[in-house]
């Protein structure tokens, strides 16, 4: 059964080029609601989990194609609507909030840095429980200090900054002006990294961590 797979939303400009094909080589179409455009494809649903990795890269390609040119609000890959009419209703209902976020984030990109225990140095379970807890507390303090140092340094380029604990480590999300990506990387690299820690930078990404609540989890008529 085919469904409407939404990729991203952006503000219309004549010069923005669109990708020819998207997930599973489906044609990429633009749905217009005022100045808002939603990119979508009609795809066979459900996806085969075995193809999820390939589909994710194809999806990413569509979003990046537009994001290279302008700010976008990405949808998550596994979010689909039943058909074009449902997508159009979604756009009509949420256009105002989408446009407001796109205006607010129009010159911005999201950069990320994750700080985590160096490979092989995460607190293990080889010793006693008390020893494990001591190691874990020490590691958390080390990560907290590193994150605090990064926050201070990145203040120079950050319009906004969020920190989130994840199983993979502590993640910093920095909202910065498009074009300041190198400055972000330089500032991170200037921060001394203790030998027990690793860190990884990535970006630029669409500013998904800085969307308003009404956009990141919008109302959908008829959703269960």
């Amino acid at each position: 059964m085919s469904h409407a797979l939404a990729y991203c939303g952006f503000l219309h400009r004549q010069e923005i080029s669109l990708p020819n094909s998207g997930v599973r080589s489906a044609a990429v179409q633009a749905l217009a609601e005022g100045e808002l455009r939603l990119l979508w494809s009609e795809v066979e649903w459900p996806f085969n989990p075995a193809d999820l990795q390939k589909n994710a890269v194809e999806f990413h390609g569509v979003v990046q194609h537009v994001f290279r040119q302008t700010a976008v609000i990405p949808f998550r890959l596994l979010s689909v609507l039943s058909n074009r009419s449902e997508l159009a209703a979604f756009a009509a209902e949420n256009a105002q909030a989408f446009v407001a976020d796109l205006e607010r984030l129009k010159d911005c990109v999201q950069m990320e840095c994750v700080v985590y225990p160096a490979p092989g140095l995460a607190p293990g379970h080889s010793g006693s429980g008390a020893e494990y807890l001591r190691e874990r507390a020490a590691m958390l303090r080390l990560i907290e200090q590193q994150v605090a140092d990064l926050k201070q340094r990145l203040h120079a380029v950050a319009r906004d900054l969020r920190v989130r604990e994840a199983k993979s480590g502590t993640r910093l999300f920095v909202l910065t002006e498009r074009g300041k990506e190198s400055e972000f990387r330089n500032l991170v690299e200037q921060s001394p990294l203790p030998g027990k820690l690793s860190r990884r930078m990535s970006g630029p990404w669409p500013a998904a961590q800085f969307l308003s609540d009404s956009v990141s989890a919008p109302q959908v008529a008829g959703a269960k």
Binding site: P46, P49, L211
Partner: protein, 76 residues
């Protein structure tokens, strides 16, 4: 103004898997969530209705496995 996208390409030697991991993480975990029901196929045969959170939890497990493999490789 041009931006730099080199860090998330798939072709960088030695970083392909990490970049792919980040791409998968982002397309599944970052952005607009449309709450509703999803359908996935298991083993290409059965259709199972599940909530979005269940799918994302499964994906998170897969991502952890990928990251663990990447860490093992980099520690060699």
């Amino acid at each position: 103004m041009p931006s730099e996208f080199e860090s998330i390409t798939l072709s960088e030697p030695g970083e392909g898997e990490t970049s792919l991991l980040e791409i998968i993480d982002h397309v599944l975990n970052a952005g607009v969530v449309i709450h509703g029901s999803l359908v996935i196929s298991l083993a290409g045969v059965d259709l199972v209705y599940v909530g979005l959170n269940v799918v994302l939890t499964s994906v998170e497990t897969a991502l952890r496995n990928l990251q663990s493999a990447e860490e093992k490789r980099s520690s060699r």
